[in-house]
């Protein structure tokens, strides 16, 4: 006969006497939960599909460029480089932000969980800043990942990787700065929109519509009309030459100001300034005469403005 080896005790309720880290821990929790929410961690498999698909979509342009550069070296100088990369992936980043950012705010208000957040050692400002930083960090990771893939590919396909690296250190600094510019801008507008609806789909549709219509309107207003002339040699048309007529929907001084309404172009103009890049898009050419300080100021306005709107909205949430 064997004797009992142990006993089971019901310890009942145990009070907590461990560390309490107060508001700083609460702020970190908002940030970490924000990251997990966007990536679908701790949720079902369906929650992971969209962020994964959009992340892969953001990586594809960099991979394609690297593959082309490594297989057809003579083409490398004609391919978009680090300075062009953010323009290439901007639409994908916009889709990612428009779809994923509202999930950070809409669900908390739709399920009233925000009521539980704001009765803890946390202010509405802590909440909004934590959520913004979480999304900013994710967008920044995506834009840097693409540039990292591109840089690694370019370094490895260079004749002398070390020389290439030494010669391009300033490009790396520009990549880092431009990444922050793009991520800060593209993270804040969808969050500001999401602060005014509990429906993620409405916020996403509004953001995408806002960017597309503003860019289309700017392009339509500033696109120049062209005059084309057929050049004949011996009675045969050998060439058709087109040039701006100097007239369009808007001409002269007015046109360049209307380029500012293109929301999607705002961070890309700052990207061009950082890389000292000449952009040959129609809107960029029309905006070429605008002072650099104005472009930077306009960018800051459209980043800080939605940020302030987001902050203001959460100061007014009542439980």
């Amino acid at each position: 006969m064997t004797e009992a080896q142990g006993e089971v005790f019901d310890l009942g309720y145990q009070h907590y006497d461990g560390p309490r880290e107060g508001r700083s821990r609460a702020r970190r929790a908002i940030f970490e939960n924000g990251v997990r929410t966007v990536l679908g961690l701790g949720r079902g498999p369906r929650a992971k599909i969209l962020p994964t698909a959009l992340f892969i979509a953001a990586m594809i342009p960099a991979l394609v460029l690297v593959i082309i550069a490594s297989l057809a070296e003579p083409l490398a100088s004609f391919l978009p480089g680090p300075a062009d990369y953010y323009q290439v992936v901007f639409m994908i980043l916009l889709l990612f932000s428009a779809i994923m950012a509202p999930e950070l705010l809409c669900a908390d208000r739709r399920d009233n969980v925000i009521h539980l957040y704001l009765v803890r050692p946390l202010t509405p400002t802590d909440y909004v800043v934590g959520r913004y930083l979480a999304f900013f960090a994710i967008v920044l990771a995506i834009v840097y990942s693409g540039q990292l893939v591109l840089q690694v590919g370019l370094v490895l396909s260079a004749d002398n990787p070390l020389t290439y690296l030494r010669d391009s250190w300033s490009t790396i600094l520009r990549i880092l700065a431009a990444g922050v510019v793009i991520a800060a801008f593209i993270a804040v507008i969808p969050l500001a929109v999401a602060a005014f609806t509990t429906r993620r789909a409405y916020a996403a549709a509004f953001v995408i519509g806002l960017f597309l219509t503003s860019t289309a309107a700017a392009a339509a207003l500033t696109a120049p009309d062209f005059v084309c002339e057929e050049i004949e040699v011996d009675g045969r048309i050998v060439h058709t030459e087109c040039r701006p007529s100097g007239e369009g929907a808007l001409t002269g001084e007015a046109a360049k100001w209307f380029t500012l309404i293109a929301l999607g172009e705002i961070p890309l103009r700052v990207n061009d300034l950082i890389f000292d890049r000449e952009n040959d898009s129609e809107i960029a050419r029309a905006a070429a005469d605008l002072p650099d300080a104005l472009l930077v100021g306009w960018y800051l306005l459209f980043t800080a403005g939605p940020g302030a709107l987001l902050w203001w909205r959460y100061q007014r949430i009542r439980i």
Partner: protein
Amino acid sequence: MPPLIEAHDLSKHYGSTIALDAVNFEVHEGVTGLLGPNGAGKSTAIKLFLGLIRPTSGSAEVLGKRPYDSVESRSRLGYMPETETVPSNMNASEFLMHMAQLSGLPPAHARTRAADILRHVGLDEERYRLIGEYSTGMKQRVKLAQSLVHDPVLVLLDEPTAGLDPGGREEMLELIRRTAHSFGISMLLSTHLMGDIERTADRVILLENGRVSEEGALSEFTQETEDLLIEVDDREGVARALSGRGVRVIEEPQQLVVQNATDADYDAIRDAVADVGARLRRLTPRRHTLTEMFRRREE
């Protein structure tokens, strides 16, 4: 032991509407019921104690601090709101861990506390299911669990049985009573349901039109009467036997009542039960109910 909550001439006005009008009261350890009809000022008082709004005049101190001066005072405070406030797309374990961290607990401790509290509210087996798939009663238990997960000193409960069916209400009241008396966590229970207060509270604060109209220990409001309650298995037989002995008895659905009972009535009841051969389940003086108190106030 200092009071957990102190309200000093506490007033809150919304424009020309006076939600709280210079109220003074204290909340001590145990369960305190904040009772009153809709619009009495209960929710305003709770918001003031949570530091969500500032008083128009007067002051409130919760756990020795003014809650509207610093959010840090909420670290030892729990709150269970009336509305449904749980995320549909998270499981209970993940949600409670997050709530514990929001109250300042490090992740490893938050995980342990979440598991402990889910076991205490009876959701241990269901902790990895999405909360959106829970019944109303289970969601209500998650709400209570999130208010306890950081081991608060005081929990503010706002209409904790709202929307529950009778069975769910019984379970929730039992859970509240057990939490308060076995776990030693004090509670301020705001409700318009007198039954909830009678079942759980030690003290009552009655709010009407933004003022405290009554305050005291529950036993003061529910003092014993001269009436005797008798619960037996053969109610009709015992009633007949008592009537035969000249005792005036009232038959109620679950019990017999002898009004203004004398010592002789006690003897008659003993003999009647013995003669009929009935089983005596309960013989106790009847207590006033809060409902009767309200009825008397209205008269």
